[in-house]
């Protein structure tokens, strides 16, 4: 696996897509133009970009409440995404799911999730289907550090190991679950120790560096696809905004200094510096990528704004397959 210029640029674009879309979503939420809860992924882009960049397009992923990044890094469509955040009929879920349930089955993205830890067992199922049908695909579950405290995670980890399934567990360890620091809710610090407990390998990687994540994910994926059973990648990362929305909340669960310190390791800047220093891109071509993507983001806002809301008749549609709810 050689990491070509194309791959390095591709990883960068994936991250910029997440960053610019989310910054826009954050602004819209601040001005009360988005309904509901918005969990921003900003700061953690290297994880989604690095992992999704290493996947085949039909490898399945499950996601979390902080799910925009995963879908966008897998190639999600800005328009359908922004429309969904606004609750419009043209959105990914026809306006019925919103930010926390965003999904794209064509991209094998099996959904963000409002229930912490709930995506992990679903990935086990996808992995089982892969194994049974021999389609050569692997399934990936993204989950937070906090999610590994819930039973669903443990049941899924054990089952994936017991059935030796082609599944990659990706822990996005941002050191907090909502407002609780990790050390207050678990007596271990590295989630990969939980993989060891269930009998499969895990490794830690710098989650603020897309290349480190990409390389580590690629190594694991190759082994998993080769039939070695599940593996876990723990990405040490950080969210720059608050648990919900943009601004800080009432309690000072983390300090501004801490956030500033981590912002110095901004995954986009880390990678931009690398691209420039290695002569792969210059400041202008980087700006051009950003401008192009920002244009797409602006278009998506316009698209979403102009899209209709779902109609009352849609309420009972899709409760069941082949047949209406009453």
């Amino acid at each position: 696996m050689e990491i070509t210029d194309e791959i390095l640029i591709d990883l960068y674009k994936r991250m910029v897509r997440v960053r610019l879309f989310e910054e826009e979503a954050g602004r819209l939420a601040e001005s009360a133009r988005l309904p509901g809860f918005l969990h921003l992924y900003v700061g953690e882009e290297a994880v989604a970009a690095g992992v999704c960049g290493a996947l085949e397009s039909q490898d399945q992923i499950t996601s979390t409440h902080r799910g925009h990044g995963h879908l966008l890094a897998k190639g999600g469509d800005f328009n359908r995404m922004m429309a969904e955040l606004m609750g419009k009929a043209t959105g990914y879920c026809n306006g019925k799911g919103g930010s926390m349930h965003i999904c794209d089955l064509d991209l094998a993205m099996l959904g963000a999730n409002g229930i912490v830890g709930a995506g992990v067992p679903i990935s086990v199922g996808a992995a089982y289907a892969n194994k049974l049908t021999g389609n050569g695909l692997i399934s990936v579950s993204f989950f937070g550090d906090g999610a590994t405290n819930i039973g669903a995670f443990h049941e899924a980890a054990n089952m994936a190991a017991a059935l030796s399934l082609p599944m990659l567990f990706v822990c996005e360890n941002n050191e907090y679950a909502e407002y609780s620091p990790r050390h207050k809710t678990m007596a271990i610090t590295d989630v990969i120790e939980r993989a060891a407990a269930y009998g499969f390998p895990g490794a830690i990687v710098d989650g603020m560096d897309c290349v480190a994540v990409f390389e580590a994910a690629s190594l694991a994926i190759e082994k998993i696809r080769g039939g070695e059973g599940p593996m876990m990648l723990e990405c040490k990362t950080y969210r720059f905004y608050d648990h919900v929305g943009v601004k800080g909340t009432a309690s000072d669960y983390r300090t501004d200094e801490e956030v500033e310190e981590m912002r110095k390791r901004d995954p986009l800047v880390v990678h931009e510096t690398r691209l420039i220093e290695s002569g792969i891109m210059d400041a202008d071509s980087i700006q051009a990528i950003k401008d192009d993507i920002q244009k797409e983001v602006d278009i998506s806002v316009e698209f979403a704004d102009q899209s209709p809301f779902p109609e009352l008749e849609d309420m009972l549609v899709d409760v069941y397959t082949n047949g209406e709810s009453s």
Partner: protein, 330 residues
């Protein structure tokens, strides 16, 4: 004051080599247990104090929980950030505090970080890493006892230790770096996940310790032309996947590769070896620095490193000195 310094790298033994080879995970819990045994061993051997370097996982502090050792335990006042330089900073403090011996838990990379902060530290390295050429695989109680005996003066450091060789590297950007086991040039322009996992990417190995029985990149040299800790020389191997000759070397635990080699030569202490870019330089197994075309790093091996305490030899020496026989007040 007879002080033993104690430090552990929480991240040692947890990198991507667990995916590609059969490297095992070194859990926090196992490190805590090792640290605890070291502390007890050292105090029992007469160390008046154990100075704990607080790591960002609080492993050392958790290790002494419930031991009620009171003033025998001293916590270093320093704020670890979860970076490599934590170990280096802690080593500087050990030196300033005048500790008589340092027990350090980690692999080759961790020991290197420590030596960056205190080059000739009186060091008893214990292996909890992935590649463990430099540190000892030893029962921690024994290690603690050895370090404690050195600190308390029961053992003379010169008699139970030997100074290690160090590979000093002048990087093209003017920075000076070092390695304890090997400096390896790999065909890569990224540091990525840092570990070197592709045998074909290795271009050159410069090893101060090349033991055929050890694991890691240095085994390429070790299985071609061994150089041991005590030997007054080093070895350089030029690698090329298309070479006519290959060596079977375990570059990671459980992963033996056929590495093509075109040249093997002895390197004298004090001699300067050039490592020519482009490529990434790996120090003791981890990619750390990327060199461009026409960039050159210069490496020199000198025996001016840590005084490495051999715990087995130390305990044996102590036993023949009858150190463990104590009078009882009946």
């Amino acid at each position: 004051m007879t002080k033993v310094g104690l430090i552990a790298n929480p991240l040692a033994g947890k990198d991507v080599r667990r995916f590609v080879s059969a490297a095992s995970l070194n859990s926090d819990r196992s490190k805590i247990e090792i640290l605890r045994r070291c502390v007890l061993g050292a105090i029992d051997a007469g160390a008046e104090k154990v100075l704990l370097a607080n790591d960002f996982r609080n492993l050392a502090l958790r290790a002494v929980e419930g031991l009620n050792l009171g003033s025998k335990i001293e916590e270093m006042s320093f704020h670890p950030e979860g970076r490599r330089k934590d170990t280096t900073e802690a080593a500087k403090i050990f030196k300033k505090e005048g500790v008589k011996s340092v027990i350090s838990l980690g692999g080759d990379g961790t020991q290197r970080d420590l030596v960056l902060g205190w080059i000739d530290a009186p060091l008893l390295p214990i292996s909890t890493g992935t590649n463990n050429v430099f540190p000892f695989m030893v029962d921690p109680t024994v290690a603690g006892t050895a370090a404690g005996l050195v600190a308390s003066g029961e053992l003379v450091i010169e008699e139970v230790s030997k100074q290690a060789k160090v590979i000093h590297v002048d990087l093209p950007n003017g920075v000076k770096d070092l390695a304890l086991v090997d400096v390896v040039l790999v065909d890569d322009r990224l540091t990525g996940s840092r570990a070197v996992v592709k045998p074909d990417s290795v271009k050159q190995v410069l090893a101060a310790i090349a033991d055929p029985a050890s694991i890691g990149l240095a085994s390429i040299a070790g299985r071609s032309n061994p150089v041991y800790f005590n030997d007054e020389s080093a070895v350089s191997v030029i690698c090329d996947p298309t070479a006519k000759q290959g060596v079977f070397a375990p570059i990671m635990p459980g992963s033996v590769s056929d590495v093509g080699i075109t040249d093997i030569r002895k390197v004298e202490l004090g001699e300067t070896i050039e490592l020519d870019g482009p490529g990434a330089l790996a120090f003791d197994g981890e990619r750390d620095f990327v060199m461009g075309e026409n960039e050159v790093a210069k490496a020199t091996v000198l025996r001016n490193g840590p005084k490495v305490i051999n715990p087995i030899f130390a305990i044996q020496t102590a036993a023949s000195n009858k150190v463990f026989l104590r009078k009882r007040n009946s």
